[in-house]
């Protein structure tokens, strides 16, 4: 409440000078940070595409000759692919290429939760399967009618998770002709098409961040630093608060329902959450993988070193809190509020909330009013 009151005193989106005449977003200091962001975004999406291609290769091997071992291989490739994608979600929520209002493929890439019956309905139907059909059915007539993307593939590889100790356990024979259930051929075809579509969608996003092209990246790095930094922070704050602490954790925590966990078929939820939090930390530090460059931390340290320290602590605390949740997530949320699992989930939610508040303070220190919804 108090923070809102304080923010309301400022004119929306104005740039004001932070302390002692230091311009926090002064060109020479801010431009490299914006450029580094664009570079690390491209590095991240490059990994995303690479791992999606590996997933596609594993899926093709599996559908060509379905065996238990090949199904396990495809599942592992899916799990691997999630690590880089989770981090890349730090680039969402400001209408950038991934979720541009008109052209952003995000809803086709990572929509969840999904209604299992919906995909089965398409597979059991008669419509000739094609990428166009699969994408046109996505989100048709309902927000959980998801037919494409990572979680559709996840459902096809794992099936419903009805186990209290592990993930879903779809038999590979679901993809073998002549064994129940029927439609194995259409299931194979669907899996193949939906994975191909995912790779294409991810490639289209990566292309917008390719250096030295006439693309989104070019306009992004040419913007006034304040505009670019506002976008960067909007992405971090939205992922940290409403999406991660809210949609992805609180809902499942409150409902105690595994239907509400992010990767409910594979039980990969904890790794997903960790990837998201890591993505936020990456951007703040200007780091991706082994490469560290100019991050927001440099800008904040120049105007408020204490706040920079606090931000770094909070980012790490969130990662630690997520790591402390006992796997699998769908069991950690069960029981009463004094159960260790639920307490750990709650602690992680609280850590993310605190981190979100500090992100708002960081924006303020940089002379930006962050409107987080």
């Amino acid at each position: 409440m108090t923070k809102q009151g304080w923010l309301a005193l400022m004119a929306a989106g104005t740039l004001f000078t932070a302390g002692c005449g230091t311009n926090a977003l002064e060109e020479s200091r801010a431009r490299p940070v914006v450029e580094r962001y664009a570079a690390l975004t491209y590095e991240n999406y490059t990994d995303v595409v690479k791992q999606a291609e590996a997933l596609r290769a594993a899926v093709e091997v599996f559908v060509a000759d379905p065996t238990e071992a090949k199904l396990v291989g495809a599942r592992q490739a899916w799990l691997d692919a999630r690590t880089s994608y989770g981090q890349s979600e730090a680039f969402r929520f400001y209408g950038g290429p991934i979720d541009d209002e008109d052209t952003g493929p995000e809803g086709q890439i990572n929509a969840w939760p999904l209604d299992e019956a919906y995909i089965d309905g398409i597979i059991d139907g008669r419509e000739p399967l094609s990428q166009e059909l699969i994408t046109s059915m996505n989100e048709r007539d309902g927000e959980t009618n998801i037919s494409s993307g990572y979680h559709a593939i996840e459902f096809l590889l794992w099936g419903k998770d009805e186990s209290t100790t592990g993930p879903g356990n779809r038999p590979y024979t679901d993809f073998v002709d002549g064994i129940t259930p029927s439609n194995a051929e259409r299931r194979r075809q669907y899996l193949s098409l939906v994975t191909k579509q995912l790779v294409e969608d991810l490639e289209s996003v990566r292309a917008t961040w390719t250096p030295n092209q006439d693309n989104y990246r070019k306009t992004f790095v040419a913007e006034a630093p304040k505009e670019a930094v506002l976008k960067i922070l909007t992405g971090l704050g939205s992922l940290s608060g409403a999406e991660l602490a809210g949609e992805r954790m609180t809902v499942a925590y409150d409902n105690k329902d595994q239907e509400d966990e992010h990767s409910c078929f594979s039980d990969n939820t904890l790794a997903d959450l960790y990837g998201n939090a890591l993505g936020i930390q990456n951007v703040y530090l200007g780091r991706y993988g082994g490469t560290d460059g100019a991050g927001l931390d440099e800008l904040v340290a120049a105007v408020d070193p204490k706040l920079d320290e606090k931000m770094k602590q909070r980012l790490q605390a969130s990662l630690d809190a997520i790591q402390a949740i006992p796997a699998p997530f769908d069991q950690a949320i069960m029981g009463n509020d004094s159960s260790p699992g639920r307490q750990k989930v709650k602690a992680a939610i609280d850590a993310l909330r605190a981190q979100t508040e500090t992100l708002v303070d960081v924006a303020t220190a940089l002379g930006i009013q962050l409107n987080l919804e």
Binding site: M1, Q4, A12, G95, E101, P113, D115, A117, Y118, D141, G142, E143, T144, N145, K160, E162, A242, G246, E247, T250, V251, D254, N255, D257, E259, D260, I349, N371, E373
Partner: protein
Amino acid sequence: MRRALIPLLCLLASGCGDDDAPTPEEALPGGETTVHDTTRNAFALAARNLQGERRDAFFVGNALFNRNWVTAPASAEGLDGLGPTFNASSCAACHFKDGRGKPPTEPGEKPLSLLFRLSIPGVDEHGGPLADPVYGGQLQPLSILGVPAEGQMALSYNTHEGQYADGTPWSLEEPHYTLENLAFGAPHAELRVSPRVAPVMIGLGLLEAIPDAALEKLADPEDRDGDGISGRVNHVWDVQAGAVRVGRFGWKANQPSLSQQNTSAFRGDIGITSALFPDEDCPPVQTACQQAPKGGTPEVDEQKLNQVTFYSRMLAVPARRDADAPDVLRGRSLFREVGCATCHVPRHETGTVEDAPELSGQIIFPYTDLLLHDMGEALSDHRPDFEATGNEWRTPPLWGIGLVETVNRHTRFLHDGRARSLEEAILWHGGEGEKARERFRTLSATERAQLLRFLESL
């Protein structure tokens, strides 16, 4: 200080908030709940002043709102019980992105976010519509496996031509509805059908927080002021209270509260029973419907209902765009001069809501009086609904209306989505809206564009 002036002005002006100068508050139509977003998510956000655990509760309700209900029995125990007959399997199916539904616009498309209420002459024990003995209170075009769907509604249109005073022609599409593939034979000879499209979900908690007394005060059932506009409060049956209450939600203001609106929709649209409405909509002749497995008694529990209702109360209203642009300001004046503001009352103040400080004491700009008005024969559904006649409709709020196209990728307006644009929606106004429509008809092309610009800025 400014706020203190407004009550004084009210004594002088014909209606509250009619003072002509735009106020800074107008840019934030949802008061402190207002959010700044112009994307596809503009209708999907939590009230800006919703904090902490209450904000968490919003996300929980949101998940339920989006979730598909499934056929009973299912592994998702809390979410089974769909149907046996239904219109959609989730709230969000019709309120996609918390926005507006539409009639079918592509060949072969079936009405999804457009439903059809059914009744026969007479009233039930509480003065509400009397359900058709064979098809019940709402047409159910979908069903679970093994249960016949009731039937489908086919749409056809005929065109009405007209022109503005400056000679610019227009054409309006009047829909006609025909029942097809009826599973249980002919309906009642005097069946009444009311098409209704899913409305936008924003600001509903604020509308609920406008005191009854304020609505009664705006009402002018006998048109004592002689302006040709009556405006009546609908009085409807509140099931929970077991009493008659002011109606304010729904196209005919036939629901007294959001909780009853939502609970009714669960049963009528998704086929989910609750403590309030424990019976499926399975009339006696529909035996397969009656015998289908249930998803529990009731199918949705109190906790989930409360979560969805909390969510529906706390959806934020988006801020105005370009509120200060000269064209918009000119349009704003025209909106008042033409007479739109007589029913689309811009400004209200919410009362104190015990369990919702976020919604209490807010100055809001929904552009509605929540009252019933006779809109003329052309819009009539000829189906009374409590005290509302066939010709009467509740003034719909206009806040957020300029973002419908962004959120829902269409511009279909009015109760059945017949208008293909805001302009057509205005042209359909008849009855008490006739005078205002006629003034609009005589505006210049520039003025018409300015008025529309104003609407788009809302």
